[in-house]
Symmetry: C2
């Protein structure tokens, strides 16, 4: 890859031909990365000297911010050229993201035909398959010979966004079947297209959600899927590379929800701080109000604490262990649901497993907690005469709380899914609050049972 | 999709021809899903009646468990046929997963040539690109005409795993360039291959890690990448659908680590409970030992608690708010790092943003906490005469703890990344423990400052 210093010195020395050749030899993604490190002036200069197709390819790889500043630096003629060369779906993504005013200005620069394409794509709802599709594809007729199809590809294939599948349409543009280029290449030149057809194809509805498209791509394992309207007319194609982006965004949203915020719409570093605060305040408040129940629960046991302050010392240790065990269980279950490894009907098996895991892990932590009280009691006076009863209290409380965390953490996502709610959204925080409150009650109840008459 | 009841009744009524036709008309992934709901006997029966290529395709979609039980039910002749028809990379995946004994038996059933291929693939280290590659690809020579290449595809393309890229090799099998089928289809029939070559290609090293392959696929946006040995000899190809599976596993590992367990090697529901416990016990223990510091911190403030038990009541509320804010910040940062939206050099900007966000969210929760004490104080006696000072204590403690959570939660993943450690592994739990201990100290220190002379 080109070093940034080399680019600087080539720009200063005006070795523009050498610079262009060096850039053309690199992969578009690499060039895009390099450009993001340069100044706006250098970027504009480089875009002016690059061949247009290559420039458009790199442009599509840049962040929307960079795209915008670059366009304002390039001037109308270069901008129009660049937009014109971009693939229609990349152009839609750009127009979608920039402010409406700038988008209108850009649309005006497009040739009439391309402008109509852009406006049509922008006419579909945000997040729909329509926004994702490319209108550049090849159609063929079922009575053509393979030889004619190959000639057709040679003549018109250059404008198509993908050349792995050809679409057979009838005279009204209705999609009748798809034929893979692979099968075409394997067939003899005199075969008719119809002999390659099996009338089995999957298509995406133009109005449907992009997340459904991700599911279909996973299910059918295809590089491209056709997009049709309600009458079955072929409108465009979606390619798997666009689907990868949608999928990455989905995973990001899931992870952000797991962390207890609402999903961000933009990259973290580009999200304004005020938006960041808004997205986080909601859940933080809900959890805070939920956690207030811990104060109420503690108030209920105030007398016990008054009599044995030593009980209060273990409160954070005990409730956090329940929270940690709950968070392990809920993340495992949420992810297993998301990738389809687990089904709702498996809930009994999950319950059994988590009960066993919870008891075992609880006994383990309980044993460590028991030892801690036992060892400390030999050296310090904090735990008083009744340290053994206290050690047992800690043991049983941990056993119960960790089991509770494990079971609640696994059942809550399944319950949310059963109610058709998103398990990722709220499981972890809900589990934490539930386990904190229930854990406190459990801890003090055990204490009452084991310590009454001695410490209490 | 075929209903399961329909299949049952067709099996009972021995309408096997109709059943076969119905199954052939469905997508392989659908059939695989349907089969997983049937009994082993029904599955074996269906595999016996299906055409072999289709059977192999479906077989590749099944879980390893199902594959194993099915193979033992099918008998040697059918098993050999099925294995023989499977793509080499799918077969490697199967042999990798089943017990060594069963794998040896299966290998013996393969024809000599296929057995050698399987053994070669299994010779590469686990998790390496070698295990992922398919040895079925098409090579061409640079002095061939496009017409000859098309004839070659027609004659030999059927065995190739992918037909979107052709590989130009020299007489020693060294990869010289790749030519996309798209460019081939667009070129005129009398062009020579060399006229389509630009000597620019990316290849994977056979010994390199599968995760590196994922990065290269993302970077170059290709449907297939060639695999070479250290001498540049072409050994196989990797297709993007295998990469999607590797990527999904990676995300799953990240999410499991975020939840505070070690990554599971198998699906949750197939992981034995004992393994599940082992994978979770480690981190749970580390966290537990870390959280023991909270007991030490509380012991340090035991006198204060003795004098004002009311202080203990707010401990869970205050430390959990810090933990929640820390978990929001760390998940946002970990994910932004994982998708490459954030770089280490942005740390100052992250610090500034998280400080502002933390102060704002802390002030918000603090205000709610303040109100809570203020309102309760009107109705109950728990908070005594000094409720206003207590309300201010809660406010300032929350302000500090939430800010601390936000800042520590964002900086820790960046610090781990800087040290070349995996930010996903341990950030969330470390943040929680750190914030719990520091939060307790902060809370009691504020209390000492504001309440000394009154409650304390």
């Amino acid at each position: 890859m080109l070093a940034i210093e080399t680019v600087h010195s080539m720009v200063v020395g005006r070795e523009l031909h050498a610079l262009r050749d060096a850039i053309i030899d690199s992969a578009p993604a690499e060039v895009a990365e390099l450009l993001s490190l340069l100044s706006t002036e250098e970027r504009v200069l480089i875009f002016r000297i690059l061949p247009r197709e290559f420039a458009a390819e790199i442009f599509a790889e840049l962040d929307v911010d960079l795209q915008s500043t670059l366009l304002s630096g390039l001037g109308d003629r270069h901008t129009a050229r660049l937009l014109d060369e971009m693939a229609a779906d990349d152009r839609t993504a750009l127009l979608e993201e920039i402010p409406a005013e700038a988008a209108r200005k850009l649309l005006a620069l497009l040739p009439k035909e391309e402008r109509e394409v852009a406006l049509t794509l922008l006419g579909y709802p945000e997040g729909s398959v329509g926004r994702l599709m490319s209108p550049d594809f090849l159609t063929i007729q079922q009575d053509w010979k393979v030889r004619e199809v190959l000639d057709h590809i040679r003549a018109h294939g250059r404008e198509s966004d993908s050349l792995d599948t050809l679409y057979v349409v009838d005279s009204k543009g209705v999609l009748v079947d798809e034929v893979s280029v692979k099968n075409l290449l394997l067939a003899s030149l005199d075969d008719e297209v119809v002999s390659l057809m099996n009338y089995k194809f999957e298509a995406l509805a133009v109005q449907s959600d992009q997340e459904q498209a991700v599911e279909l791509f996973k299910k059918y394992n295809r590089p491209t899927l056709p997009v049709v309207d309600s009458a079955g007319v072929l409108l465009g194609i979606v390619t798997v590379d666009d689907i990868l982006d949608v999928q990455e965004e989905e995973v990001t949203e899931d992870i952000q929800k797991l962390g207890g915020s609402e999903a961000l719409e933009d990259a973290y570093i580009r999200t304004p701080v005020t938006t960041l605060i808004q997205k986080r305040a909601g859940w933080l408040l809900v959890l805070f109000v939920g956690e207030m129940l811990t104060a109420s629960a503690m108030t209920y046991f105030e007398d016990a604490i008054q009599r044995a302050v030593v009980l209060a010392l273990f409160v954070p240790l005990i409730i956090s262990s329940g929270g940690n065990s709950g968070s392990q269980a809920s993340t495992l279950i949420i992810r297993a649901l998301a990738v389809g490894e687990l089904r709702l009907k498996d809930w009994m098996s999950v319950l059994r497993r988590e009960f066993i895991a919870g008891i075992s892990l609880g006994a383990l932590l309980g044993a460590v907690g028991f030892l801690r009280v036992l060892i400390w009691a030999q050296f310090v006076d904090t735990y008083g005469d009744h340290w053994l009863a206290l050690a047992f209290t800690v043991f049983f409380a941990l056993l119960g709380v960790v089991t509770l965390g494990s079971v609640a953490g696994s059942m809550l996502p399944l319950g949310l899914k059963k109610l058709n709610l998103d398990p990722a959204t709220s499981s972890a925080p809900f589990v934490a609050t539930l386990v904190d409150v229930a854990g406190l009650i459990l801890y003090f109840t055990v204490a009452m049972l084991l310590l009454s008459g001695t410490l209490l």
